[in-house]
Symmetry: C2
Subunit: 359 residues, 2 copies
Amino acid sequence: MEPGSIRSYLDSFSYRDWQESDEDAGPVRFAMVGLGWWTRDEAMPAVDRSTFCETTVVVSGSAEKAEEVAAEHEIVEAGLTYDEFRAGERRDAYDAVYICTPNAKHLEHVEAAANHEKAVLCEKPMEATVERAEEIVDACEDGAATAMIAYRMHTEPAVRRARELVRAGVIGEPVHVHGDMSQSIVDWGADQWRLDPELAGYGTSVMDLGIYSINTARFVLDRDPTTVQSMMHSDHEFFSEVPDEVAAFTVAFEDGVYATCTASQNAAQDSHLRITGSEGTILIEPAFHGESRLELAVDDASVAGDGPEVDQMEEEFDYFADCVLSGREPEGTPAHGLVDMRTLAAIYESADSGERVEV
Amino acid sequence: MEPGSIRSYLDSFSYRDWQESDEDAGPVRFAMVGLGWWTRDEAMPAVDRSTFCETTVVVSGSAEKAEEVAAEHEIVEAGLTYDEFRAGERRDAYDAVYICTPNAKHLEHVEAAANHEKAVLCEKPMEATVERAEEIVDACEDGAATAMIAYRMHTEPAVRRARELVRAGVIGEPVHVHGDMSQSIVDWGADQWRLDPELAGYGTSVMDLGIYSINTARFVLDRDPTTVQSMMHSDHEFFSEVPDEVAAFTVAFEDGVYATCTASQNAAQDSHLRITGSEGTILIEPAFHGESRLELAVDDASVAGDGPEVDQMEEEFDYFADCVLSGREPEGTPAHGLVDMRTLAAIYESADSGERVEV
């Protein structure tokens, strides 16, 4: 690569290579369903800063909470309960629905949004089980609207650049991948839906964190999982209902590329994704906690890249809105997300049986 | 940690905390058995620079090679064939034997050295199979001499400092580990003993490279393996006789600490060992290719450490000689190495059966 092209590569590090709409297109008006801290502290501020989106409706299980959040935001026109949302109240006030509730509650809200023929942006993992995720796929196919699972790494610049480097053969043929996402949720207390299998699904660390390594490896490698194996266990009392306080799992992708991963909800915060190829390596670290940095090493030389910092949620919402506005399908469709759900289920099955499981 | 103590920690980064002998002790005189490039280019120069060791005898399958190498080194008194070595020729000219031959040839040379009541430093992996490794243990127990498997990471300063940090609880309780050692041996051609199961044993990448992640994790964690699972495959024609051109494997250690690892003899050179604990992480990278660098991260702070560069082989030989001179047992005894051999065998068995295997 010539010096000029490195300069140009760095200048365009955070460039929205995916954007098709003009800056003045939109807005896509969102109903925010589920008003936990992620929606209020991450998603809504990102939407406020975004190019193509605005929040016009907020929806909660609690009428008080919906009204309180609505009152805090001048641009929000209405605060609804889940029942009111399901019944189609104020359906003219929004174009799209962002669903950020416990996993096992996604399906009912997706079905409501599809019934109202709205676009759907649904948090990952899609649902609590493969069967319910399949119902989401069906509901979205029956409804007419754009649907996407909220994989914020798909529009993280470091991840997109990594994918370009892999596609261009800069590290040769991919050989193996290491992925980790760990954090501690113990400080948040025992009363969390992520520790309750009725709401979280098969478990907590792989469902909530491991999915980042799985889906990002899949995205960067342009390959789907074929086989998995795993080990997991829980010791801490908070994790007595879920099998995976900590988990180690390997996902074999097409062409025999192995991604060997860890995830824990009771460890120091850490995240990385490393792709080793026949000719070089790409390291993304930190990877999944909101700011990502890329390092490329080929032979004895290495370059590190991080462009102007982006807000991953802002990029995600604008990408989704851009798909809605341009009428194209996002990469992270429900059918795409279903592959992850099957992979997650296989990982939990393998941990239980001690055997390798095909996805 | 106070500023003064950090300064003092850095100053002593490469300090030989293990050394008991005075600088003028010795020398321990070595017979070098197996005169491949590792012995000639790495081991013998390290011995030349060492504090406690010297090379007085060289042993090869070829009389010409033995004489040629002997002639190149003024300090070497004799060049012997394997037969002459086995027969005990010049046995008064050396105190210890360094064995660096194809894995499946270790046993015969260990037995000869033990018969001559010499100290034994035997390369890893110990042998081609668990059964033959057990015979090495028996032979060394029958002979009177000090015996050690050549784990050069045991005296790598970054590894010793990492172990101290783990023992001191600086990263809390260990939760999981990532390990990788990869390199490309394809440029060396098809005719290599590492690609021949008769000489290498169960395979190539896990036997030759994966053992670094396994043993170093074991050493740093102060825990032994309990269970393993793995996947591996070979595509390249050079690897048609061995199952593991690339491998991904997980080793569960005592207390449920998972080490998830990769190894490939046909990938870009890469090595790292990362230990994530409940309170922080330790990264050693590069880890296993001759120069190691340590990074400790706790909360939002991190420190990186690499002391005065050491020669890993020089440290290893001096450590072994120091054990011989002080009459104490090294950590890497044959019984210690046998645990790795059982772990390696279990990893190959798991890859074959698709099932988790207890060590």
